[in-house]
Symmetry: C2
């Protein structure tokens, strides 16, 4: 490694230190170093801007926890998450995928078909029925279906952990039946701002950007013989449908939340004595890669 | 903001969300988004590589503390720190600057001229005498001089906090006298590996890179009417002088550590009854920007 490296020579010198890495690691680090250095050279990045960036990343690290994934949020608000999703999940006839988001948590309850997953939070009842099929339309039995969403005020359970005493709510892991169907009851989620009390909020405020995400339900599917699918359904008539802070909305994932009067019948036939809503959707899983 | 963003359209859409930011922020974020997205597109970054990257950054955050600056180290081993230094401190006749490194800490003692700053750690005595001047060679009185360095085994005080009970050692803040001079006693530092027990160590191991830094002393100068200077002196005959893990060595900062027999006289005239070393250097501060 030479000494006396300059603005003109340092990039190649750093890239050369990855010569002995594995093929893919060498490729990734050489590209990373090239773009990182080009970014600094093109912007004439100052010492104090570098300090600000390091301090920003340290603060992202400090606020992060298993239930507060600020680095995921940073990737989301910079559009990287959706881009990586696009790169890896080209449309091949299956349901379009979209980003996982920062609110998926591994600690979620397995729930039986038709269960109320609301965890007792108040809100307009929502009945979701789904059909999981392959590219030919044949049902997929035994598929694992993760779902999670916000409450009627736009908060996830992990943001309500004090009131909920850490219990999960509005999330669950279901399994499709022999006809590829799943169903659950919960409450209607609301549009909401991404968390703005951390470092990512500073970026949104500096740019005058809306922090809102339109109303949506999250889903993740795993089934033997199929590629995993991470997706969302967006409420078609949400006022924020064209102003998603994380760039994730796709028209193919826009869905009607159908309103019903009090006294109507839920999909399972029971009478609901308050106004409620229903969502019904068919999910097409991609073939195994 | 449009919906249905694709690999081809997302970058411009994300850049557009920074249209209302201040001029410099808009410039920085547009360049950041362009390079981040180009990196993902060029490398065809996979979902699992994205997860690995997010997990890596979270782990860098978790290990970080006021005395363990892993994000600074990450910038250092990717050559970004030296590049930013080069961009901002073009040679104008003053002593060349180089990177701050992860071991500077704000909590350091003010020490009088000639003081022993070793904090009692064992090692070969080292006497450092410095002269701080302006571009015309005139002495700068009252300049603040920070110095910090490793011990004879290559460890900084913050890495020895148990043995040292958190007391600072081998670091101090001095002031130049009327002739622009400062002097202190300490112990001879050794070459050392950057910390490899954290996430940055994984990068070095994956690349088969040496983690070593050549022997050096850190300095930081602040004086009224001058630009600050952050620099190091590197021991000219260190075996790692051409293998610096953080790319910081400059030939203009290579210095002789002069060896003396037991019974010789230190720069302050006192007789030293063990073998010792001396370093002498003139630092030229840059004019205020």
């Amino acid at each position: 490694m030479p000494i006396d490296l300059t603005e003109a020579t340092i990039t190649a010198a750093v890239q050369e230190t990855f010569a002995q890495a594995g093929d893919r690691q060498r490729e990734l680090f050489r590209a990373l170093v090239a773009h990182l250095h080009d970014f600094a050279r093109e912007t004439r990045l100052t010492d104090s801007e570098w300090f600000t960036a390091v301090d920003f990343l340290e603060r992202v690290g400090r606020i992060s926890s298993p239930t507060r994934q600020e680095f995921v949020l940073l990737s989301d608000i910079l559009g990287l998450s959706v881009l990586v999703d696009q790169i890896n999940h080209a449309d091949g006839g299956s349901t379009e995928s979209t980003l996982l988001g920062p609110f998926f948590v591994e600690e979620r309850p397995r729930v039986p078909a038709g269960a109320d997953i609301s965890g007792g939070v108040s809100g307009t009842p929502l009945f979701v029925t789904g059909h999981v099929v392959d590219l030919d339309g044949s049902p997929i039995a035994g598929a694992l279906v993760d779902t999670w969403h916000s409450d009627g005020e736009g908060c996830y359970d992990v943001q309500r952990s004090e009131e909920l005493r850490g219990r999960p709510a509005m999330r669950g892991l279901l399994t499709t039946d022999a006809e590829g169907r799943f169903a659950y009851r919960s409450v209607v989620p609301r549009y909401y701002p991404v968390p703005t009390d951390g470092p990512c909020g500073e970026i949104l405020r500096a740019a005058g950007r809306s922090p809102m995400r339109p109303q949506h339900l999250h889903f993740r599917f795993h089934a033997a013989g199929f590629a995993p699918l991470v997706t969302m359904l967006y409420r078609r008539d949400c006022p924020y449908i064209e102003h998603d802070a994380v760039f994730g909305v796709k028209s193919s994932l826009s869905v009607d939340f159908v309103s019903h009067e009090a006294g109507g019948s839920a999909p399972d036939g029971t009478v609901v004595d308050v106004p409620f809503q229903t969502v019904e959707w068919t999910f097409v899983l991609p073939a195994a890669g």
